[in-house]
Amino acid sequence: MQAKLIGYQHRDTVIHRLSGAGKLLFFILVSLAAMISYDTRLLVLIAIFSVFLLYLSEIHFKDVSFVAVFATVFAVLNVLMVYLFSPEYGVGLYGERSVIWQGIGAYTLTSQELFYLLNLAIKYLCTIPLAIIFLMTTHPSQFASSLNQIGVPYKIAYSVSLTLRYIPDLQEEFFTIKMSQEARGMELSKKASLMQRIKGNLLIITPLIFSSLERIDTIATAMELRRFGKEKKRTWYSYQALKKGDYITLLLATLFLVVSLLLILQNQGRFYNPWK
């Protein structure tokens, strides 16, 4: 946990200038489209478009490499897990069986299973870039107003803002406590025994939990003193109204979703079947 969660990086690009609400809705709608469909043609199109948006946002790989690698490993594990538990799931879906490798026992390798797993992998390629773009091009203060703009009550939206505000604080506190304990002689590396490491981690986690929960009263009191929650509505310092670019964004997102649904009709199901 050496790297921070990815965060906002200020740049002046067309993506940064879009409103947070527009970007959030785009992310939700296109993710929905990618989730619903298993039509490879649409998924590839969305994936290419997602990568193009990354380029447009001027997000460099080194900025996101930690999270990207982590998410990739997670996605690969997921795909492998699906194969392990359903090695011929694809055969059932596509109605044909083209064996590439006879394998061992139930673990054959077929074109159909590979094709299915390919679709799963592309889905990740569709949504991970979009999530990264939204997070890195939207100022954290705009997160809350974005949620409020799309209908989430402002108090809930504000809780989201508070959480985002405190995640880095708690992470930093974790490292501070860890270094303090190591300075007192606690050994956490592989040199230590398992029991020692468990005990060591508890010695970090316990004070982290205590100090996190202790700050609740301070925060709540400060909010009360500033009259939080007194009115049914509130204004937002970081509010950004929807403009032409945002409407184009929403139109594009709706288009993806509609195409996704239409393809279900055309394919007579969620799956595009090249063997039919």
Binding site: L32, K155, R165, Y166, D169, I209, A220
Partner: protein, 178 residues
């Protein structure tokens, strides 16, 4: 109780879950993360409404793309994929356990309440592995429950023993006084 508590408490709770979920201990073949440890702790220490809001807020953050789920997972797919049941049943876990415990509960009661909540998370896990991943119930049990039982019992014990001193220490805060 201060009105602002209703919104400050879940925020800190969700942040704590998000940070602890990223901590992974290298124990055994199954990844041992503190995600459900954090859920259980929040469920024990908070009241039902704030506990459920904490878990809900955590899921919301994951849904909009923040890499807050264990293993850095994020996005909608985590909430509709084969392991989605575990995540959704965190709401049940936090609601149930927090309604069964209060600031004066003993260690045994805390342990049993968390045991019940955690068992429901496994029910959710089995359901999603069966219906969303097409896995037979027996296989879902073997894959999705059995390997996690011992690590989870360890987490429940840790929750039980950490909660008492934690509640003692927080006694001077208005929210934690009953």
């Amino acid at each position: 109780m201060k009105k602002a508590h209703v919104y400050a408490i879940p925020a800190i709770g969700a942040a704590l879950i998000a940070v602890l979920a990223q901590i992974s201990l290298p124990i055994g073949p199954v990844p041992f993360t503190l995600q459900n440890f954090a859920i259980g702790l929040i469920a024990t220490v908070f009241r039902p409404r704030e506990a459920v809001l904490s878990a809900g807020l955590y899921l919301l953050l994951g849904a909009i793309g923040l890499p807050v789920f264990a293993g850095g997972g994020a996005g909608f797919q985590a909430l509709v994929g084969p392991t989605a049941g575990y995540l959704w049943f965190y709401l049940v876990y936090s609601g149930l356990t927090s309604s069964l415990t209060n600031s004066k509960s003993g260690v045994v009661k805390i342990f049993l309440a968390n045991l019940l909540g955690d068992a429901l998370v496994f029910v959710g896990g089995i359901l999603s592995l069966h219906f969303l991943a097409g896995m037979a119930f027996e296989k879902a049990l073997v894959v999705g429950v059995l390997p996690f039982i011992i690590p989870d019992l360890g987490k429940l014990l840790a929750i039980s023993f950490i909660s008492r001193p934690l509640l003692q220490r927080l006694k001077n805060q208005a929210y934690f006084t009953n």
